[in-house]
């Protein structure tokens, strides 16, 4: 899918609604145009970035869906579906309280990951997703922000990348900016001066406590590794996080 910025061409949308019998080729173009009516405003650009990153994964998943959903109108079943499986904040509208409750029952979930989906002809994609969710069981970590008397819990497995997590946290904690993330969604640890600028500012930076009990700057390791090793998150002012930088750079250098 091309990451082209469309203007909001509503006429085109209207035409697309009558689309159904378009077929494969038409489906692609339609999907692209319809997608522009999806997210609005600044979130649209974020979506596009995710699109770029997740491109390879998308192809695989679409193939899976095609293989395993026996019904005819596969692509057309959901022509407007955004190709990237980006988690949209607050959608579907299930209360985060409920989501937290559901995720807490990790052990029993793993026992029953098969049984819940045997009733209906489940596509293997669905089963795979269910098992994946069951296996990971959610990774809930506490998030606190300096100055805010609130603690929140987030499930790191809900997010695909640092950018995803950053967006979700940005919504939760108002004056929290993570504008200095690079294209990969990680703080550029190799560029010392950039890093120092960030840490000298009054901008907030996210830090986390890893498995070893060390406090690190978020973004120093690949995303999956981060999800596996993060025990809790703390958002603090850049100037306070400055003590973490040398350690972070060390650990980073020792890994590369």
């Amino acid at each position: 899918m091309l990451a082209k910025e469309h203007g909001l061409n509503l006429k085109e949308t209207e035409l697309c609604l009558g689309l159904p019998g378009g077929g494969g080729g038409g489906g692609e173009a339609a999907a692209e145009t319809l997608r522009t009516t999806g997210k609005r405003g600044f979130s649209e650009t974020v979506d596009l970035k995710l699109n770029l990153q997740g491109n390879d994964n998308n192809k695989e998943d679409l193939d899976d869906n095609l293989k395993n959903v026996p019904k005819e109108k596969t692509l057309l079943k959901d022509p407007a579906k955004p190709p990237a499986k980006a988690q949209v904040v607050g959608w579907p509208p299930v209360r985060s309280y409920r989501k937290n409750m559901m995720a807490q029952k990790v052990s029993t979930e793993e026992n029953k990951s098969g049984s819940a989906t045997t009733e209906k002809t489940a596509s293997s994609a669905a089963t795979a997703t269910a098992t994946a969710t069951a296996a990971s069981g959610g990774s809930f970590v506490k998030v606190s922000m300096d100055g805010a008397p609130y603690l929140r819990k987030v499930d790191l497995t809900m997010y695909k990348s640092y950018q995803d997590l950053s967006d979700a946290l940005a919504k939760m904690f108002s004056s929290f900016t993570m504008g200095n993330y690079g294209s990969q969604g990680m703080i550029d640890f190799m560029n010392e001066s950039k890093l120092m600028d960030l840490l000298n500012s009054s901008e907030y930076v996210p830090t986390y406590e890893d498995k070893d009990g060390d406090w690190m700057l978020v973004g120093d390791v690949p995303w999956e590794m981060f999800v596996g090793s993060c025990k809790r998150l703390r958002i603090m002012k850049g100037s306070e996080a400055i003590g973490l930088a040398p350690r972070a750079m060390e650990k980073c250098k020792s890994r590369s």
């Binding site: 609005r40 959903v69 029993t108 819940a116 994609a125 997703t129």
Partner: protein, 603 residues
């Protein structure tokens, strides 16, 4: 809350007193009528009736203000605490609602507001006789709870729903100081608990010794271990206890003991419902079913956290009398549900997970002929999966449960035909909330938008007051809503519509609209302006990720001075004038001064 001017004169004095005692004993003539009025107004309990009465004339306004004992504040920022306490002098019970509903889905910054503290101090000053406090989506601290605990000697009832900001210390203070406490209901609230390694405060032990007045104790959301011995002791000395909802740290064997202590219970929320560490392998487990048989008045069951379905048969003895069953945290399939549900002939309220599948819904439809409320929640919220419930389940429910009044249904696929069928089979529907998880998803059979389905709902369900729409929807759907949804008070819209016209239809067509929440839909300034005539009648309007500009909002703010327009942006210095979130509400007082940096209030 605004009252008419003094255009109507006070009613003429019609009483004539005569006789020797009249000069000394009788109150002044104009006061007689007021006293009569006050006595009569005591019988008026519905707040809408009271609002109407207060508009008759100044005398009635005063009398009503003096006699209103239940005060309902739908939006904590609509009036200042001072204004409320100045008008209503003898309030015993107060309900305050804070954040807009979309805060539940993490769409609102955490420190947005709805702080209870200003209300707390005003109440402590003005209503020392306060007995009941119901708060929803408010932010309150341990200090606030402590203030409540110490300021109201007659305090009887505390209900906190979807609140946050407080911890165990606050709850302990309530337990320790409110000697007349009857109700302590903590529902779906975020309670700060200590980290695993820190010591947990034993709040249950803070209840005073001796018999309590407790009738309802709900602490499912207090997510930390409780002192079971103290809990058992508390239950044993609470003869009036009818409702008990435990948290997941209470095991089945412990529940068993509690139920035998309190067989008079009518509402039980079980703790965890699985194999317990308390019982060693090989030990004889107690006969849990006997506990459920012993509680002969049981009508409502919930909880079932961490469920091991093998234990479900324990509740069989209670099924025949159950009117309410909440299995929405229990991942059970159709085969596990059936033996339970087939006995629940009296069920009126059912909350489940979609793990029961269409087959499970079939079983519900076959047995629960009296069902009024159904909620089906998703186990898996991803958009691209093949969900376990569908139009098949919805249709079957509509055929079997003709008395349905309220439905919340999450699914991955839905057809217009099924929704239309429900609109015809269930004419008593008051609440219809359908959430098709895949955004912009059309009818999978016809590839049509879902316009006709929702259209049929507003057309055929003449009592409908609350509607949530989803799936692929064009402006046509909103045209239907504007045309037929004359009683609709609450409308939720997401990822729907084509143009400003959609929103215009609704704002121009729905005279009873009070709460409108919209996200990610292409409605812009022109649409917003079309509601100017109606905004003062609404409690709030929420629009996020739509096409509104700051300029238009500013215009509206200038045109309607009693409207607060909160513009919320999570990023500073945006390139264009488009705003992320608009939260707009009527307000009699100055804009609030407790908003965080990301909120700009236009007024």
């Amino acid at each position: 809350m605004t009252h008419s001017g003094s255009s109507l004169p006070d009613l003429p004095n019609s009483t004539s007193t005569s006789g020797p005692m009249s000069e000394i004993r009788s109150p002044p003539p104009d006061r007689v009528l007021e006293i009569v009025l006050e006595n009569v107004l005591h019988f008026l309990t519905c707040r809408r009736d009271r609002n109407a009465a207060s508009l008759v004339c100044r005398s009635w306004y005063r009398a009503e203000a003096l006699t209103r004992s239940d005060l309902f504040i739908g939006n904590c920022y609509a009036v200042s605490p001072h204004r409320a306490t100045s008008r209503f002098r003898r309030v015993k019970s107060l309900t305050v609602k804070g954040k807009p509903r979309f805060a539940d889905f993490d769409l609102l910054p955490l420190n947005w507001g709805a702080n209870f503290s200003p209300w707390g101090s005003a109440l402590a000053d003005s209503y020392p006789w306060l007995e009941k406090l119901h708060l929803k989506r408010m932010s309150l601290t341990d200090d606030d709870l402590d203030l409540i605990a110490r300021s109201f000697p007659s305090f009887k009832e505390l209900v906190l729903v979807c609140c946050e900001g407080f911890g165990i210390a606050g709850i302990a203070s309530i337990a320790a100081n409110c000697r007349l406490l009857r109700v302590l209901d903590l529902v779906e609230s975020v309670v700060e608990v200590a980290d695993e390694d820190e010591e947990v405060m034993d709040w249950i032990s803070c209840f005073p010794e001796g018999e309590t007045h407790l009738e309802s104790l709900m602490f499912e959301c207090v997510d930390c271990p409780v002192n079971f011995e103290a809990l058992e002791g508390l239950v044993a000395r609470s003869p009036f206890l009818k409702k008990l909802r435990l948290n997941r740290f209470v095991s089945i064997p412990q529940l068993y003991r509690l139920m035998h202590r309190a067989p008079q219970l009518t509402h039980i929320g079980t703790g965890s419902f699985c194999a317990s560490d308390d019982v060693a392998v090989g030990d004889q487990e107690p006969d849990y079913a006997s506990a459920f048989a012993a509680c002969k008045s049981l009508v409502c069951l919930s909880g079932f956290r961490d469920i091991l379905p093998d234990y479900l048969p324990a509740i069989y003895p209670a099924c025949a009398n159950l009117t309410s069953l909440n299995l929405s945290y229990a991942d059970v399939n159709a085969d596990q549900l059936k033996p339970v549900i087939l006995q629940c002939h009296k069920l009126q309220t059912l909350w489940v997970l979609d793990s029961i599948c269409d087959e499970g819904l079939q079983a519900v439809a076959a047995t629960c002929k009296d069902l009024r409320e159904l909620r089906v929640f998703p186990v898996n919220t991803r958009e691209e999966v093949e969900g376990p419930v569908s139009e098949v389940g919805l249709e079957v429910i509509s055929q079997g449960c003709r008395k349905l009044q309220s439905i919340l249904f999450f699914c991955q696929r839905m057809t217009n035909a099924a929704v239309i069928a429900m609109s015809k089979n269930c004419p008593d529907l008051v609440v219809f909330r359908l959430c098709i998880i895949g955004r912009y998803r059309p009818d999978p059979e016809t590839q049509e938008p879902m316009d006709d389905g929702f259209g049929a709902i507003v057309m055929n369900c003449k009592k409908l007051t609350r509607l949530a729409v989803s799936g692929l929807l064009t402006d046509q759907a909103f045209r239907y809503i504007g045309m037929y949804g004359k009683l609709v008070r609450t409308l939720s819209v997401a990822f729907a519509g084509d143009s400003d016209q959609g929103l215009k239809y609704v704002l121009e067509g729905c005279p009873n609209l009070q709460k409108l929440e919209i996200r990610d839909s292409p409605f812009g300034d022109a649409a917003l302006r079309s509601g100017l005539h109606h905004f003062y009648n609404m409690r709030f309007l929420w629009m996020s990720s739509c096409k509104l500009t700051r300029q238009a909002c500013q215009e509206i703010a200038r045109t309607l001075p009693h409207l607060a327009l909160e513009v919320i942006d999570s990023q500073e210095d945006k390139a264009d004038d488009h705003i992320e979130i608009l939260y707009m509400y009527r307000s009699l007082d100055r804009p609030r001064n407790d908003a965080p940096k990301c909120v700009t209030i236009l007024q």
